[in-house]
Symmetry: C2
Subunit: 260 residues, 2 copies
């Protein structure tokens, strides 16, 4: 079974199971699955999200012998999940399906609010910066990022020795969201650890006029981890994961009444 998940990352120590005692999306999901089905199953995710990062379209999969169809399975599982984690849809997949390897692209959005006092109602969803940012400079900088296959290690956290730093950025766009907010949307086949948040961190410095778009463009030539500060996780949301057409046929967004 594959699931389309949404979660509020605020109270999670990231998506993947970690040391005992840390609350993770995987841990909550596997516990709810066990309560629903009686089965202990390992859940595989399309992508790892860090502590504090949100998701609207995370994808995961696992094996199950449960006789429920996807719609009823999703509705029933939602009753066992905590408030900050929900199944949006489900579909049957073969047991060989690997949501990480099968994915062809991931899309994230990062929200920044700027030029005003801090805003309590959005503090867990947006990076709030005090100065008004030069959004036009950020738009220009984002549009200049390479779209061809590129060594992105300057924008990555520490990589293991086996890990290739080559990635293909499909899209990176800065768009205003009213006078005091903006969204950075990025899409790639896959991302390096912290790559999105390091791109956003550098773009914010462009917006603060501490870095010219030209200096920004040169960052990618730098040594590993050199591109500067990592934007905080709470502004970031995994929007969706793309698969080849026909791979996943989601139920309609699950109707919690389906099995009543």
């Amino acid at each position: 079974m594959a699931l389309l998940l949404a979660y509020d990352g605020t109270a999670f120590a990231g998506s993947q199971a970690q040391a005992v005692g840390l609350r993770t999306v995987q841990g909550e999901l596997e516990a709810a699955l066990e309560r629903l089905t009686g089965e202990r199953r390992r859940v595989r995710f399309a992508g790892r999200t860090d502590a504090g990062v949100h998701a609207l379209g995370q994808v995961c999969s696992f094996d199950t012998q449960a006789a429920l169809g996807p719609q009823r399975f999703a509705a029933a599982l939602n009753r066992y999940l905590p408030d900050d984690l929900a199944v949006r849809a489900a579909c049957e997949v073969s047991s060989s399906f690997d949501p990480r390897r099968a994915a062809i692209a991931r899309r994230y959005a990062y929200r920044i609010e700027h030029g005003g006092p801090r805003s309590p109602l959005t503090r867990l969803r947006a990076w709030q910066l005090r100065p008004a940012l030069d959004v036009a400079a950020m738009v220009e900088a984002a549009s200049g990022l390479p779209r061809e296959r590129t060594d992105w290690s300057a924008f990555a956290g520490a990589l293991g020795p086996q890990r290739s730093p080559w990635r293909t950025l499909l899209d990176c766009r800065v768009e205003p969201r009213g006078p005091r907010a903006l969204a950075v949307t990025v899409e790639a086949e896959s991302f390096l650890p912290q790559q999105v948040r390091r791109i956003v961190g550098a773009l914010a410095r462009v917006g603060e006029r501490r870095l010219t778009p030209q200096a920004f463009a040169a960052l990618i030539e730098g040594p590993p981890c050199s591109a500067g500060p990592v934007a905080p996780p709470h502004g970031l949301t995994l929007l969706d994961v793309r698969y080849p057409p026909g791979t996943l046929r989601w139920t309609d967004e699950c109707d919690d009444d389906a099995d009543e």
Copy 2:
């Protein structure tokens, strides 16, 4: 001094100070004022918000001998306030200014999401209803509410014996916010306790087709507290409080750097 306040109501037991041990907006604000100025002052609010209700434009006032101008006062106070409460702007007022009596109108917005699975990322800001609502019926019902001075006790919580149930609704509007969400915006000179949430509770029953717009229109004729269930507080936000022109001259939304 008068302050324009924003807060996330989730972790507050409402705006007004209550029994010791309950965390309130007034309590946090008076504590921060004392830390900033050394003065113990009672803060007066334009309107009472219940536990869980949010605000973008609450107004309050208090006396102070502090020598800081409004801009610096607001910026300095923000450093002493918790993350879920912020000053947006400030202005000087006479010590006779009463933010409740001087106000000529209050405007609230209530957000409902409907027709989909629960959504973790908006669960603390929107009332999430499982069935898809008949938004057109809600629009019609809202437009039929009386705009003249009316006895609103059917839509109120319990009122003290001294309290007049007569209120004048200035606006009530239901507007879609995309395919699965809507906002109910209401404005009145002032509201009775729970009036907004009882209007929304009844409108939701219209949306669920459990109440016709005609039956909705008749509710106002009913005895006190008869209009039915109260919508939960977390969907409600106090948007702004209006004063006669010239009463309050806010600083620009306060720049936290003002005193640096």
